[in-house]
């Protein structure tokens, strides 16, 4: 079954913004048995939206429209869809009431303009929006189905999973997309490809994609399977790739490094604290993206200035003078210090030069040390990253989590 995605919003036609919703939607639609065969981005222009939708109605079985459902003059999706379908818009009293309640809860008077969000297309099913004000719609027209969803990613995702996924599964289920994914840390993309290409080329019917993002690499395998067909060799290929790459692979599920690290900490009943210089809190923020991380994460110190490194993290000032703040010695001292100060099982530290300024010949921009300490030992890793300030800091956080994972495996129970 063929699905089509139409993203609406003039801001998505600027050089600075992308329609990233469509990636997430594609993953979900594939799971439901839909192949996404077309994607479009259109501005807040009622004629263009209408034209696109008319064309989509002729060629797709499921159409997802995202965006343009807000309260402002620019939000034209409702009206354009009504036109393309040849239906009227009506004001829904129930939605209006719930909008008013929502504003009242936050002690705000609802501006008149918000009433637009209560306009619905004739014979549409209304999809409640639990995380925002704009409700969505589900519409059937001559055997084709349309979902109108709001543009903000969290609203779109919540509403798709709440309302659309089950409907799509009912419509799409004659083919399924088999997928496997391995994520790894610690090898460059080119080396991954050189090592696994001789393996995946033996399975030409399986689509293999290698993707790099923020220091981690994912190898994704996919294959469309008719419902009656027997399972393909996806599992076999994934196993062979895993055997080739070994323990740099940290997950074969849809997990991030911080999830894996969290599981390892929890499993071995150990606690963790951070001392961060150049990342200034990014490592702590990343570790605590995991719900329930307070079970093992105690907190830490952002020792951006040297004074805080000595005064709060107990790094001897001689060490700072002799080796400089960005050094193996200071990294390990920070890790030992934060561990003791917070009474945690493990301390982890980061010190480096994120740039753009501050680099020297011996210590260039991108130089980073990660320190680690538990009760019996301390150690460090040195890396030099290239890229801008944001990139260096992101890669540093990945490097710290990757190193922490290895430390947890080598000093405790493995996965």
């Amino acid at each position: 079954m063929k699905a089509e995605i139409i993203a609406i919003g003039s801001e998505l036609l600027t050089p600075d913004r992308m329609d990233t919703n469509s990636l997430w939607l594609t993953q979900r639609l594939n799971t439901a048995g839909f192949e996404v065969h077309l994607k479009s981005v259109v501005g807040d222009n009622i004629d263009n939206i209408e034209t696109l939708l008319r064309a989509a109605l002729r060629r797709s079985q499921l159409i997802i429209l995202s965006g343009g459902l807000g309260p402002t003059e620019d939000d034209l999706t409702r009206m354009a869809a009504a036109r393309a379908l040849g239906r009227n818009l009506r004001l829904d009293e129930e939605i209006l009431e719930s909008l008013r309640r929502r504003f009242a809860l936050r002690d705000t008077r609802m501006a008149k303009i918000n009433e637009r969000q209560a306009e619905v297309i004739e014979a549409a099913e209304i999809l409640q929006n639990p995380v925002g004000t704009a409700p969505g719609m589900w519409i059937e027209e001559g055997g084709t189905y349309l979902a109108l969803l709001p543009g903000p990613p969290r609203e779109l995702q919540t509403m798709f999973d709440t309302h659309v996924m089950s409907r799509a599964l009912q419509l799409g289920g004659d083919r399924i997309l088999e997928t496997r994914s391995l994520s790894l840390h610690g090898l460059p993309e080119s080396e991954v490809d050189t090592r696994i290409a001789p393996i995946y080329k033996l399975y030409p019917h399986i689509q293999t994609t290698i993707l790099a993002a923020k220091g981690c690499i994912s190898v994704r395998l996919q294959h469309w399977l008719a419902a009656a067909e027997k399972p393909s060799e996806l599992e076999e290929l994934a196993d062979k790739i895993l055997a080739e790459l070994g323990d740099v692979v940290f997950t074969n599920a849809d997990e991030k490094l911080e999830d894996v690290v969290g599981r390892l900490l929890r499993k071995s009943s150990r606690s963790l604290a951070v001392a961060e210089s150049c990342t200034a809190g990014m490592l702590g923020a990343t570790l605590t993206r995991v719900p329930g991380s307070s079970d093992y994460f105690r907190g830490g110190i952002i020792c951006y200035s040297n004074k805080l490194k000595t005064n709060l993290c107990h790094v001897p000032s001689e060490l700072l003078e002799r080796h400089g703040a960005v050094s193996a010695e200071v990294a390990e001292s920070l890790a030992r210090g934060i561990r003791e100060i917070t009474g945690s099982s493990i301390g982890i530290s980061v010190t480096g030069i994120a740039g753009p300024g501050g680099g020297t010949e011996q210590k260039p921009v991108g130089l980073v040390y990660v320190g680690l300490a538990d009760a019996s030992r301390s150690e460090h890793t040195r890396r030099v990253f290239s890229g801008d300030r944001d990139t260096v800091r992101e890669l540093t956080v990945s490097a710290a989590l990757g190193r922490l994972r290895r430390f947890l495996i080598s000093t405790g129970d493995a996965i």
Copy 2:
């Protein structure tokens, strides 16, 4: 003049890959005086490519097709375009010869399949490809122009700049895109629109877009200006909107809240430290995204556990017992504590319930307190955010920065 971009390639319809060429192309096209009014991504499917191109020919003055010009079975752009235009394909002897030479230079025999790359559409101008094998084409059809370019970004960019840009400037160059942008914090999107719609509606020729992201709102104005025309009323409209919205507007440049806060701190020679509970480092990480932030940012404490709130940040344990960690009293105490401990001019703190667990009836998920203290006073803000864990934490960071900006203005020099 209206331009349209069509990206061709089934890999661009997977959950992992985006058509990033279109961002680069949009920037160039805007510079040449073209507005990009539609973008599409289509797989290696000849019917879909043909249909899209037929529709594009009816509504756009310039169409850029990228991808699908390679030598394989999947590369269907040439044939689809020929069909949409109702023209024939012919084998170009000159291209064929240059392909053969290219292969010979690398001591490789040219596989038969590469001959496809020498097929050109009748009456097309051939665009040489200095960095790859697939040549491009420039075609005129009833007043609309088409550029067929290869998909790999380096080839596409080189060929656009070599062959297409000058042609586009000749066609579109009579207009330039004027833009202005205002960013603000502290008002909901709907209220911003209600207040400024009566103003921007008086300037219907200027496109006004309101965007919300992570607690901040941007108002973007743009207008296509004919070369002969005198500058439009963009500046006038921007000034009127600024006058209406007042000091919630934190910038009229392309700046973030952390840039503005940094400038205010630097200007008044004040330093800052953070005490973060639920955000666990995100506020510190955001403040230090600004290069040179070490001039005013000292660091801070991630007091994720209550023990660290008392032991490291000096919050009296009676206060925690009486009011709970998520309270105005603890927020202010944290701000005072971190200021004293780090010897900074200002302390800022965050404590809240990011969820998904941990909420109660009195203290629901999303409840957040921001505390602020300088030498003479301390204060706090209470907010209740809706959304998932990531959203609550992001909105909290924005709220803290927004509050800090007001604190800096009210206690020091204004911008």
